[in-house]
Amino acid sequence: MGEFLEFRDVAKAFGPIQAVDGVSLEIKKGEFFSLLGPSGCGKTTMLRLAAGFETPDRGRVFLDGADITGLPPNRRRVNTIFQSYALFPHLSVWDNIAFGLEVAKRPKAEIRREVEAMLRLIQMEDQAGKKPGQLSGGQKQRVAVARALVNKPQVLLLDEPLAALDLKLRQRMLIELDMIHDEVGITFLYVTHDQGEAMSLSDRIAVMDQGRIEQIGTPAEIYEAPRTSFVAAFIGDTNFLESEVADGLDGEYCRLRISGFPDVVAYNDKGIRPGHPVFLSVRPEKIRISRDRPLPDTRINVAPAKVEDVIYLGPTTKYWVRAGGQRVLVLRQHFRFFLDEKPIRWKDDVWIWWHGDDGFMLEGFRKGDEKLVASPPQKVGEE
């Protein structure tokens, strides 16, 4: 298919704030693409550049091969779902949906047909005469979707469309959005700060921070193979181990030296040379924990540890343990649970271990990113 919506070295500043700082991005036709990042990372500016609400200071934007950088919003075949929905309060649901077709001066009969089809799609045929003020949050959202889709845009832009909804409704709308995307088959550019939304909906995700793209990939790539400490820490939890490459092992593996820790084997797909410092990211669910020492294996990293904190979460339990002067987070899933089993408790001496393939050597590390993972227990429940 090739790229459909393309940003080429785009930059945009608002006064002293560099919102987007030289971003290049290619989105394929029909793709569900998400821009994921914390607030202020530039993702909304990217979306507004695509919609035409902002003009970039530098770089170009292309849609289906045509340069649309200077085109005003009304001349782009791109429609937006606003975070606040921005439904016209003085118009009925029907007139809101018909707005785009009416300004395009389509024939009356066609407008009627298209609007009715949309009302069916969002299952609101009986609410057509209501004003936005009389709708619930979920209904408003559906009207906003219909109002955009009725124009058959080449790309649908969604600006945190679920942020204003409560949790249960958000989950339902998530499924609905996914179904709508499958049904209409147009390209979606979805902006969110919620990794759960991005993961479950997207074909591909671009993780953004401070106006730049940190990584682009499928949800699994982003999660399992984060390139930078920011990606590793922003999406899910992780442990960062500061280390130095000691020597290469057979081909693809290498040995890492970590202060106060036994040497660690890691998969070195990036070919980092001995003597170089590197940060290793290990996801907590990849680490096993037990009172018994595991059988030795050349690919398995084992360390003695002491339990400092235990947080029981139902399907899983979180353990904060101290190993070689480091605090390590371990997540254990209860495959089988015996009530009479002697559980691991506070101050117990345990062993932790993980496979050399599960430690990820990061290309970039920024001090402070580890704060993103030092999550207090109550945040865990949100996942």
């Binding site: 609400f53 919003p73 009304n74 791109v78 606003f82 921005a86 016209f88 707005f99 300004v103």
Partner: protein, 288 residues
């Protein structure tokens, strides 16, 4: 009981004052329209409908029509200037917004007569505007700029425009400008977005602006008196003439009744429309 006394104590002073000096005098205008004048410029004894009949015989309808027409044109011009101005003030950065707002309000504080006078000297046959227009070849030295309907409308616009900008600004400030973005996103051109989304959004401000200009314009007296000619007299001038020139108070009263009706008409129209429009919405809001 104590509450009742408190309420009475706080209400009576202003209530009685306005009763005596506002309500009673206003009603008196209606009453005096049916009393004969006395030769000394006062009110004669007895009752008569002669004044009202006299009113119908006079060519007052020309003046009444001109009053309506000039006020409507002034209102339209004020609205045409106030809408973009109010929009611009509301969209300015917060720091600049206060300064702009201040600049719009300050003329309100300056003396009304001085503002009219300023225009009188500007439009004077030897004043600067005339000279520039002649220099540019846009007017001949004989073109009168003063003492005509155009001058009256110009100065009325000048006087009432700040009052039109303020309510429109107040409405625009509360307006969610993302709706304009949404309209543009859905394919509306800038002017379409303005007309289809912004204008309905500030409807209340527009209604207030219309009333706030139209009502005093209908009652204009000083402006046509100072910059208008004999053929630009308005109802206000006729009322003043009956009072100060012929000293016929019943006649002035009758004319005032006509003016009151002219003012009441747009006011009641708006009130009626609003009542009709807002009731169902309120009921539905309570239901949902």
């Amino acid at each position: 009981m104590k509450k009742k006394i408190q309420e009475a104590a706080l209400t009576i002073p202003s209530f009685v004052w306005l009763l005596l000096f506002f309500l009673v005098p206003t009603l008196l205008v209606f009453v005096l329209a049916f009393r004969p004048p006395d030769p000394y410029g006062g009110i004669g004894p007895g009752w008569t409908t002669a004044t009202i009949r006299d009113l119908a015989r006079h060519p007052y309808w020309v003046i009444a029509w001109r009053t309506l027409w000039a006020s409507a044109v002034t209102t339209a011009i004020c609205l045409a200037l106030a809408l973009p101005s109010g929009y611009a003030v509301a969209r300015a950065s917060p720091r600049r917004r206060n300064l702009l707002l201040m600049m719009v309000i300050v003329p309100f504080w300056t003396s009304f007569l001085i503002r009219v006078f300023a225009w009188r000297s500007l439009l004077h046959p030897e004043g600067p505007v005339k000279k520039i227009l002649v220099l540019l070849g846009l007017a001949s030295p004989q073109t009168p700029l003063l003492y005509n309907n155009a001058a009256v409308i110009l100065v009325m616009t000048y006087t009432f425009l700040p009052f039109a900008i303020l309510p429109i600004y107040a409405a625009a400030e509360k307006f969610d400008f993302r709706l304009v973005e949404a309209a543009r996103d859905l394919g509306a051109r800038p002017l379409q977005a303005f007309r289809k989304v912004f204008l309905p959004g500030v409807r209340q401000g527009v209604v207030t602006a219309v009333l706030i200009v139209l009502i005093p314009a209908l009652g204009s007296y000083v402006i046509p008196d100072l910059v208008g000619g004999p053929s630009s007299e308005m109802l206000g001038n006729k009322i003043a003439q009956r009072v100060f020139v012929d000293r016929n108070l019943p006649h002035a009263s009758a004319l005032s009744v006509v003016l009151i009706l002219a003012v009441l008409a747009p006011l009641l129209a708006v009130l009626f429309r609003q009542r009709k429009k807002e009731k169902p919405e309120i009921i539905l809001e309570e239901g949902g």
